[in-house]
């Protein structure tokens, strides 16, 4: 080992590198979350965190658990495949606490035209009306019952 006269400083440099690497590995071990790499190059616990977010739309199965009378009416009409919250809005809070959270009464003059206002881009077999000509701004539930919208016998017009 006499080929290098001043080999000592190389060993000191190597020691600094080794110490730096060790420090890096220790810090990295502390900072990288445990679940990183559990399923792939990402934090595995992120999946659980996203899955734990709260739900706003309860789902029609929950509604139907209590409102069997509405289900009965709806299942016979053309709106049978339309989910409750499609019109009534997100009501998971109502499902959790039916007494204190009450859904608002809907205005059918504004609600029904969301789907049924005439538009050339809609499929031709979808029932549509030009609401101004059809009812002159009158609320749709004057003649149609939203849960089963066929014309009501004895309804006006």
């Amino acid at each position: 080992m006499k080929s290098f006269k001043d080999a000592g400083h190389l060993f000191r440099l190597a020691a600094v590198f080794v110490a730096g690497l060790a420090l890096f590995l220790i810090v990295r071990g502390f900072l990288v979350p445990r679940s990183f790499g559990q399923y792939g190059h990402y934090r595995g616990n992120a999946i659980g965190e996203i899955a734990a977010l709260p739900v706003s739309y309860a789902g029609h199965q929950v509604c139907e658990g209590c409102h069997t009378d509405v289900l009965e009416v709806k299942s016979k009409g053309v709106h049978k495949a339309v989910a409750c919250e499609s019109c009534h809005g997100p009501l998971a809070k109502h499902a959790d606490d039916p007494a204190s959270v009450q859904p608002v009464k809907l205005d059918t003059a504004k609600l029904c035209v969301r789907c049924h206002e005439e538009n050339l881009a809609k499929p031709k077999n979808f029932p549509q009306v030009a609401s101004a000509d059809h009812s002159g701004g009158a609320a749709c539930d004057t003649c149609h019952k939203p849960h089963s919208p066929a014309m009501v016998a004895g309804g006006s017009q």
């Binding site: 934090r43 659980g48 739900v55 706003s56 339309v82 499609s86 969301r114 050339l120």
Partner: protein, 243 residues
């Protein structure tokens, strides 16, 4: 502040335990849900879409999407009867409040709902420099909100324009396929409220899912197949002019 040796010896392990819990994060939230049993996608029957915007509203309410940003939206196409290369597309406020009357100068008009395609070979997850976005073991493209730097690489990489930077958090945001719902046995908010059945959540690993019968008997298409992203959003009745 003076700390005795005794106090320090008590404090240090307590701090270590606290740090450990921060590093470890929260555990799995849906214990009855097994990720390896599912492979999620969606079916869009565009022949049924009426452009009512229910899906857009439901998505915003379910996922607290800020106004002017969209995880899902509806486009309306106007195509001349022969000039497929130059469709005229509008999507006022993402179709959230419906659409004004369509053009009547010949050609055809139709709606196309869009959302994240939950690609198997997703370009957006491949470009993330920090591992903040990924395809989950059940085939959903998700963003880790705690890890995202907001560098916007993924926003640029998505060929479908499905990502945005949430101005409230400055992190990338996108459709999670309502991961918090589908892991609880519910369908997505958009599929739940779709009044015509245009949107149907599909579990491609479930042999009893009606998607399989549909795919066997119908001609379906994915958006931008030339991008080879292996999209899992299947469109039925899609016009060739749709981009």
């Amino acid at each position: 502040m003076n700390i005795t040796r005794r106090q320090l010896l008590i404090l240090l392990p307590a701090a270590a335990v606290a740090w450990e819990s921060i590093i470890a994060g929260t555990p799995e939230a849906s214990p009855n849900y097994n990720m390896t049993d599912h492979w999620w996608g969606m079916l869009m029957d565009v022949t049924k879409c009426i452009g009512c915007g229910s899906c857009v509203r439901a998505c915003q309410l379910e996922n607290q999407v800020p106004d002017g940003y969209f995880r899902t939206w509806i486009e309306r196409y106007h195509v001349s009867d022969w000039e497929m290369e130059y469709p005229k597309v509008d999507s006022p406020d993402g179709g959230k409040t419906g659409f004004p009357p369509a053009r009547e100068d010949g050609g055809k008009n139709f709606f196309v709902p869009k959302l994240c395609n939950h690609c198997v070979e997703s370009p957006c997850t491949q470009v993330c420099p920090v591992g903040a976005t990924f395809v989950s073991p059940d085939g959903v493209v998700l963003v880790d909100q705690k890890y995202c730097l907001g560098c916007r690489y993924c926003v640029q990489a998505c060929p479908y324009g499905c990502r945005f930077i949430n101005p409230a958090t400055n992190t990338a945001n996108k459709c999670t396929l309502c991961y918090h719902r589908i892991t609880k046995g519910l369908t997505t908010a958009c599929c739940e409220v779709c009044p015509t059945g245009t949107r149907q959540l599909a579990d491609l690993k479930n042999p009893n899912d009606p998607i399989h019968a549909f795919l066997k008997t119908h001609s379906v298409q994915v958006l931008k197949p030339q991008m080879a992203t292996r999209s899992k959003c299947f469109y039925y009745g899609l016009d060739g002019s749709v981009r």
